[in-house]
Amino acid sequence: MKITPSKIISLLFFIFSGFYLYTAYQIQVFAFDEGAAFNARTFPIYLGFAGLFFSGLFVILPETNPSSVDLKVLDYKKTLGLVILMILYGITILKAGFFLSTSIFLVGSYIILGERNWMWIFILSFPFVAIFMYLLHGLLNIYLRDPFLKYIGIMG
């Protein structure tokens, strides 16, 4: 049996299904529901078994249509850069506010992807986010808490 990345993913899913099934059995149900034909843990238990069944079958059976991916051509650097930038965005959005964190996120992602046209980088970040925020406030009445804009006195 050839170990392919799809099989490794399926094996991980098998382990995940096992964990899911174990957790499903731990779900606390009301005492009067314990022997009922259906309670809060019934459906998850079936799902756990289904997950084990399909992933187990995939791991055991030979792969008829294996996916071919050339790992050498994948751009790990840029993808990882974007993912880290998004996590940083999640960390800063509540503290720095929507305007500043979003604008910096956009500038950062343009640069990570190799853009060097600074005029467009600027237009499609700070002014773009400002217009977007105006549309949210003005048209959709969605209030965005923004400590930075509050600090400089633009927002109440």
Binding site: T42, P44, L57, S67, T79, M86, L113
Partner: protein, 498 residues
């Protein structure tokens, strides 16, 4: 029915809703045109916006986006041979060769007229079929619904699996597992939350759709180092030639459109099949219908070769609304996204929608006609300008998609935990996509998870814990036989390949 049509027209023709159809068609065309970004991404990006509107307005906007995205997909198929959506792959077989002959405008016009005709004819079918089917489906019981959901999931898994049914079934189970997180709908017992308050309400539908489609597609483009705009730079997007058709071409289209519409609508109604299969089947059928002389032109810029798949894929889009509106069970990934959005509005589509919310039921159907007209009169003349979107550098395109995805989810909850969860799901989805684990079955399962559990609960309680409910009623038995048939066919296909 006349009263319903009038209600629908009144709602759909209000200034706000007309604007929404136009915005939907326009933005759908732009997003659908970008290779790799299909109708599901387009609709996913629109969901957060729709929550600010009334349900009918929101649904009209999404329907417009759906049609626009399919039309946009055809444009990129014809102009740069890079189909924006799988449903328009067949269009590129003859559309691109015609464009290379300097008749891109003509190819686009054939695609637009065929889409319009296919969409309109199938919308008439929908108008007739949906109310009748709604009445029939009132007699459906919980076991039937449970069976139909299993059928829908199995069919979508079978059609989207690209020859690997087990991978698709794993995605179905994963979708159902994600849907089980949070409070149990009946007992309010929390499940799989691991004492994290952020999970007690379950995982947001918008989050899952945005993560698995919009964000994951953007990350996949970067990860695979694809540049969807590269092909666009090699062609002139402003010099597309005349969009006028001569008599012979019109005559050829008139013959193709009716048969492709019927085929597309029927395929669209079937769970899981959708626009892609409809367009390929219509292309194949058309090759068999035309004369030997015309058949020789297929693959070299045939009018019939463009008209057939374009008519069928738009007809299938309307057809896919039938199970959604009448049974409340989506037959495709795209309509699953719409179902999720409707549930977000607090509306349960199904046989009773026709009676309880007629304005939504009819306005969606009516807005389909209007959407088609908008596509024809607004988008077609504007194509030389809209097509320039294809040349947008990915260095700007990808960050903007990520921005709309992150913002869309953040605006729903104002909670950065959702951003982290979204990133986690998107990264997982990107890796899964790389190895051909399909995402539409996951979304469909995620949307149907709650409904499936409710119907299984009712069925098991009624039958006192016995699984005999699966074959007690003839209707349920037929549905389950269809499920067994699909699974059997998939197993046969796997073994026959060896």
């Amino acid at each position: 029915m006349i009263e319903g049509i009038l209600i629908g027209l009144q709602t759909a023709l209000s200034l706000k809703n007309l604007m929404m159809v136009m915005i939907g068609c326009f933005s759908g065309t732009i997003i659908g045109m970008l290779p790799g970004l299909g109708p599901m991404t387009a609709i996913a990006l629109m969901i957060p916006i729709t929550y600010g509107f009334e349900p009918s307005t929101g649904l009209i906007l999404m329907a417009g986006v759906y049609y626009g995205a399919v039309f946009g997909g055809s444009t990129s198929s014809i102009l740069i041979n890079a189909p924006g959506v799988p449903g328009t792959v067949a269009t590129s077989f003859d559309g691109y060769p015609m464009a290379q002959q300097g008749k891109a405008g003509k190819a686009l016009a054939i695609a637009a007229y065929s889409s319009f005709a296919g969409g309109t004819i199938s919308a008439i079918f929908l108008l007739i079929a949906a109310p009748s089917l709604s009445l029939v489906s009132l007699s459906f019981r919980s076991p039937d619904y449970f069976g139909l959901m299993i059928l829908g999931l199995t069919a979508v898994a079978a059609f989207s699996s690209k020859g690997n049914f087990l991978k698709a079934m794993m995605m179905v189970v994963l979708g159902l597992m994600l849907a089980s997180v949070g409070q149990d709908s009946l007992s309010d017992i929390t499940r799989f939350t691991f004492n994290n308050m952020n999970l007690s309400d379950g995982i947001s539908f918008v989050l899952v759709v945005m993560a698995t489609f919009a964000m994951s597609e953007a990350l996949t483009i970067i990860f695979k180092a694809n540049d969807p705009t590269k092909a666009a730079k090699a062609v002139s997007l402003s010099q597309l030639g005349s969009i006028k058709l001569d008599k012979v071409e019109t005559k050829k289209m008139l013959a193709t459109i009716p048969r492709s519409s019927v085929l597309g609508f029927i395929i669209g109604v079937l769970p899981g099949a959708g626009a892609t299969i409809a367009s390929f089947l219509a292309y194949g059928m058309e090759r068999n219908f035309v004369s030997d002389e015309e058949r020789q032109k297929f693959g070299k810029g045939s009018v019939n070769g463009i008209a057939a798949p374009e008519t069928a894929n738009n007809a299938a889009c309307s057809g896919s609304f039938v199970p959604l509106l009448t049974l409340g069970i989506p037959g495709s990934g795209t309509t699953a996204v719409m179902l999720g959005a409707l549930l977000g509005f607090g509306i349960q589509p199904g046989p009773r929608l026709y009676q309880t919310n007629p304005e939504i039921f009819w306005s969606v159907i009516m807005s389909m006609y209007i959407g088609m007209v908008v596509l024809l009169i607004l988008n077609l003349p504007l194509i030389p300008y809209i097509a320039r979107v294809l040349a947008t550098p990915r260095t700007f395109l990808i960050p903007l998609i990520l921005f709309f995805s992150l913002t869309g989810v953040y605006l729903m909850s104002f909670n950065n935990f959702d951003i982290y969860m979204m990133i986690g799901i998107a990264v997982t989805a990107t890796v899964l996509r790389l190895y051909d684990f399909p995402m539409p079955p996951l979304i469909l399962a995620f949307v149907l998870g709650g409904l499936m559990e409710v119907n299984l609960r009712r069925s098991l309680l009624i039958s006192d814990g016995s699984w005999a409910f699966l074959w007690d009623r003839p209707l349920t038995l037929c549905i389950m036989l269809a499920v067994v048939g699909i699974i059997g066919w998939q197993i046969y296909k796997s073994f026959s390949k060896k």
